[in-house]
């Protein structure tokens, strides 16, 4: 309703209706380019979020591995610390995943819009050439009006869809940028890298310490100074502690969100 009246007003101002057809066709092609750029922009943002998710996942996996190692050497305190940090990363990842899904939905919508517009622009071009070939002033206005009404409505709709996608992408990019900065600044490494390294350092020290003890015992045995090293150390009490504690990993049991009633459009209040 809104678009129709505007399009008709523009049409009435034109001297030669045939010029209007060409002018409109140019604008349609421009809009097609714009919507394709829109699809590409949204895809770029989506890929960026994917990279961020992957990078957080690597950090989380590293922490999980460290937690397991800590348990194997009986350091439940270290394991708990590693898993706590991992759990914080997991909630960040969940937020990013929601953004990712949002962008993907937007990308699909724009892709469909671009296909619809392409089909209509093609149909308009055919119609335009027919009208120009058989042009008589008397019937031109009516036929041109017919050709216009559908395409201008589609253009209005696609224009708004692009606007909405741009707004959403801009919001996402602001957030993605903030996370990139966090990753680059090392602030997230408080959870993983820098402070994570203290977990690693302690594990290395413990592991190294045990190796040294074993090596010493082995050497003593060779020299006949003491009993052979007991291999059972590996499967001894620290190992059992690991078995008992592993099911208690936090952050694993987040229930999936309830399904929304209308699947693709489930963002209340996420309008313009």
């Amino acid at each position: 309703m809104i678009f129709k009246s505007k399009a008709n007003k523009a049409l009435d101002r034109m001297e030669d209706p045939r010029e209007t057809l060409d002018y409109s066709y140019q604008r349609q092609l421009e809009l097609l380019q714009k919507v394709r750029r829109g699809v590409a922009d949204v895809a770029t943002s989506r890929k960026r979020v994917e990279l961020q998710i992957n990078s957080l996942k690597q950090k989380a996996d590293k922490l999980e591995e460290q937690g397991r190692k800590a348990l194997q050497v009986g350091r439940e305190d270290l394991a708990r610390e590693a898993l706590t940090r991992r759990s914080a990363l997991q909630s960040q990842m969940a937020e990013l995943q929601a953004q990712h899904d949002n962008l993907q939905a937007e990308e699909e919508k724009l892709t469909l819009a671009s296909q619809r517009l392409q089909a209509k622009v093609d149909a308009f071009r055919t119609k335009k050439e027919t009208i120009k070939a058989t042009y008589t002033a008397a019937e031109a206005q009516t036929r041109i009006n017919e050709a216009f009404s559908g395409i201008s409505e589609e253009m209005g709709d696609v224009g708004l869809a692009i606007q909405r996608a741009e707004d959403k992408t801009a919001q996402m990019q602001a957030r993605a940028g903030a996370i990139d900065e966090l990753l680059a600044s090392g602030a997230l490494d408080d959870f993983t890298g820098t402070r994570g390294d203290d977990i690693q350092a302690e594990l290395d020290r413990l592991g190294g310490g045990r190796d040294v003890e074993l090596e010493l015992q082995r050497m003593k045995a060779e020299l006949g100074q003491g009993p052979a090293p007991r291999e059972a150390i590996e499967a001894g009490q620290p190992g059992q502690a690991a078995q008992q504690n592993q099911p208690a990993q936090p952050g694993q049991a987040a229930p999936p969100p309830p399904p929304a009633p209308t699947q693709q459009y489930r963002q209340p209040g996420e309008g313009l």
């Binding site: 809104i2 296909q115 409505e153 709709d157 869809a161 209340p268 309008g271 313009l272």
Partner: protein, 92 residues
Amino acid sequence: MIVRIMGEGQVEIAPADIDELNSLDSELEAAIESGDEAEFRAKLHALLDRVRQVGKALPEDSLEPSELILPPADASMDEVREMLGDQGLIPG
């Protein structure tokens, strides 16, 4: 009657289905007047779902204008208020 759901495309609605859509439209209007966001969202989705269900999609290369235009499912209440005339989204 040809109806456009913004962002989704156009469908053709048989005259027999229009009454039902009108009553869904009235419920949506009431929800907007009450200003209840959850109610508004539910009614908007109910209307759009029904239009998608009974509507027959127009071919993509059709250049037909729509007799009425419905807002997208994620439109805000204010956007829909702006689109609304005195008659609700579906006239008559």
